[in-house]
Amino acid sequence: MQEFRLPDPGEGLTEAEIVAWRVKPGDMVHVNDVLLEVETAKSLVELPSPFEGTVEALLVEEGQTVEVGSPIIRVTSGDADAVETAADTADTVHKEEDGDGAVLVGYGVRGGAETRRKKPRTVQSVPAASAHPVVAKPPTRKLAKDLGVDLAAVIGSGLAGEVTRDDVVQAAKQAKVFRNLQAPEWAGGREERIPVKGVRKVIAQGMVDSAFTAPHVSVFTDVDATRTMEFVQRLKASTDFEGVRISPLLIMAKAIIWAIRRNPQVNSTFTGDELVVHHYVNLGIAAATPRGLLVPNVKDAQDMTLLELATALQQLTATAREGRTQPADMQHGTITITNIGVFGMDSGTPILNPGETGIIALGTIRQKPWVVDGEVRPRWVTTVGGSFDHRAIDGDVISRFVADVASILEEPALLLD
């Protein structure tokens, strides 16, 4: 039996996140077959198997962050030698730790050797999964994975505590009912230290640069977006827009481009000496991606038809969601939309994307009582607002711009103008 310890896949990295396992217990693996994908502060990489044999156990779960040097998978080797030594498990593990750990050039040997001598410091280095081995058949495991059920948390009703298919289905039903009510356990230790790195670090710097350079002013207005919702429904039904994702965000984007034409100064960059007013719109969309918050932009959105804009937005979000946004996609933005409505929020005071003068927040759109012709009626209401760089523009321009955007949401037919 052999254990593969997480190597340092970069230079001097101390930990990596387990992104996806490509093998499962019982699988045969050859030397250099891909075992799993890990993400470090620097890159997403595949780790090839150093052994040949049968996977006995995965020692860490997907999503877990693991220290370099910690054992992550156990493989029973096919040759007679290894099978013999496997009988004396304790001894084998001991040897592996001393021998294999040592070769992790320069940075290795942390996990195993250390935890043997001291108390484990955090939950990270002790794989919870291996403590109570779950008995379940492979199809049951797959079902659990598909349904998002943590097998370790299911009490098995089968022989010797085996988790059955019914147990998993039952657990999934329960989970559905209580999804929003359950609070996970505290992670171990009184504090958790999350290193600030990668995208997080870039965001932190950008937000500080923006917030403490540009004096922000935020304004909001509530608007009856019922006609926008109807327009969206009609577009969805239209054959021209078949296969393209249509949402209120599209109308919002179009409204912003239209309102910029009437108030060009909101689409600008304040350099200190000059206000550089852009006669094009590279429309940024704040996107929560697997890598963190990114703001890719649609280049020259002012020249696009509604269909082209819808297609561009769809492509941009799909790319962002897959984590494939290229640096060029994020450069040279001129104005940004943040769609906090998708999280159910009504409004907020967003921070400007550095170098831009305006960021517009689209709130959630829900039915609320609204006064129409002296009567209270249920209407689809939302809040339009945003933050602007007060060095560059004043309250009158800002208010006119936001009112213009709101007027389109209220009556999208104005776009025909």
């Binding site: 890159s43 150093p50 001393d98 750990g101 320069g106």
Partner: protein
């Protein structure tokens, strides 16, 4: 027929290419003198070149795996660049001195460095290079600091001219120098200084620049708004632009440029190639380039190209398969040896900093030993 000096022709729209992507010979009036030079390579030579490329590729892939398995601290893949390298090193004569960067695996192996010596550098087992240039036909050690060796190579070339071991007019004994670097290094000041001194002192040197299109994540189009070989002409060097995935073009042009350099006319070759893998194992190219771009270059693979040419020349499929098998076995052997190799000793990295013991390095050595001992094993 003497091949024309490349400088003087109008700005080229296509690099010099003798073998196209399908491995067919590209015949033209302009190519005729280059074909004549390439004819110095017999079919057996070409087969041997193919074998070296295959062995380097398998070695490269295996080393990448070993890094991911924690056996190497770092690996620098050369996948995709074997064609430029094999042509260049076959063009070099025995007496020539070669200054590599850190991606010239094929060149190092050709001149007699072993796979294990290259691996030891990236395992952290050897301090200051893995081999002795006296034993590797003037193949110097890898230079990990970008472009510094452009100066070392130029200075060395200026020196041999003063020594009189170059510039006598006898190509079979006159020494020449080659410096290998990439498009990223070309942006470094050292690279430009090298060109200035090489031109000023008419030094016997050829700068062989593998433009693999990416300086880690910065595209070469950003590094230079116009082709690098044109920049070299501005410095007064004869410069050529070749299809770097064509081993025959690489051989012919390098052979002629080196022989001109022996007589005091320094040269510059921009090899148009592509780094198929990551910059190093610490890099993730999916973050800055598209798979479409990689795919378009995969179709121009130098090994497949030379293999197609060899089939055309009547080399049997079995012979090529045998080379492939041999390369795979060599990589497997290397893997076994690497797994068995003793743990790198970190101690002696302090021993070569000063000639005599120094209190600072002595203290650092003690601290490191203490740190490693804190893990409680024989780390």
């Amino acid at each position: 027929m003497t091949p024309p000096a490349v400088t003087g022709t109008a700005a080229a729209t296509e690099p010099i290419r003798l073998l196209d992507a399908e491995g067919r010979l590209v015949e033209s009036d302009a190519n005729a003198p280059w074909h004549e030079l390439a004819a110095q390579l017999s079919t057996d030579d070409r087969l041997a070149m193919h074998g070296e490329m295959l062995r380097t590729r398998r070695f490269d892939i295996e080393a990448g795996h070993l890094q991911r398995q924690g056996k190497l601290g770092l690996w620098v893949p050369s996948i995709g660049q074997e064609g430029a390298q094999v042509g260049a090193v076959w063009a070099a004569r025995e007496q020539d001195t070669l200054f590599p960067s850190y991606r010239e695996h094929l060149i190092a192996l050709h001149r007699g460095a072993t796979m294990d010596q290259i691996i030891d550098i990236f395992r952290g087992a050897k301090h200051g290079g893995g081999w002795n240039p006296l034993e590797t036909q003037g193949m110097r050690i890898y230079s990990l600091v970008i472009a510094t060796h452009a100066l070392h190579a130029t200075g060395y070339a200026m020196g041999i001219r003063l020594d009189g071991t170059s510039g006598t007019g006898d190509a079979s004994t006159d020494e020449a120098v080659m410096a290998f670097y990439g498009d990223g290094a070309a942006s470094q000041g050292d690279a430009s200084e090298g060109l200035v001194f090489a031109a000023s002192y008419e030094s016997p040197i050829v700068f062989f620049v593998q433009n693999n299109k990416w300086a880690i994540s910065v595209p070469s189009t950003r590094q230079s708004r116009f082709p690098l070989h044109q920049r070299a002409r501005g410095f007064g060097l004869d410069a050529a632009w070749i299809d770097g995935n064509d081993p025959l073009a690489s051989f012919a042009v390098t052979r002629r440029m080196l022989d001109a350099a022996r007589q005091g006319a320094p040269g510059y070759i921009e090899a148009d190639t592509y780094r198929m893998g990551a910059h190093t194992t610490s890099d993730d190219p999916t973050r800055y380039r598209t798979s479409d771009e990689e795919e378009s270059w995969r179709r121009r693979d130098p090994i497949a190209r030379l293999a197609a040419h060899l089939r055309e020349q009547g080399v049997a499929e079995a012979v090529l398969a045998e080379q492939d098998q041999e390369a795979t076995e060599l990589a497997g052997d290397l893997r076994r040896r690497t797994l068995e190799a003793a743990t790198a000793i970190s101690d002696d990295i302090f021993d070569h900093v000063y000639s005599d013991p120094h209190p600072l390095t002595t203290e650092q050595k003690r601290q490191l030993a203490e740190f490693e001992a804190s893990f409680g094993g024989d780390a």
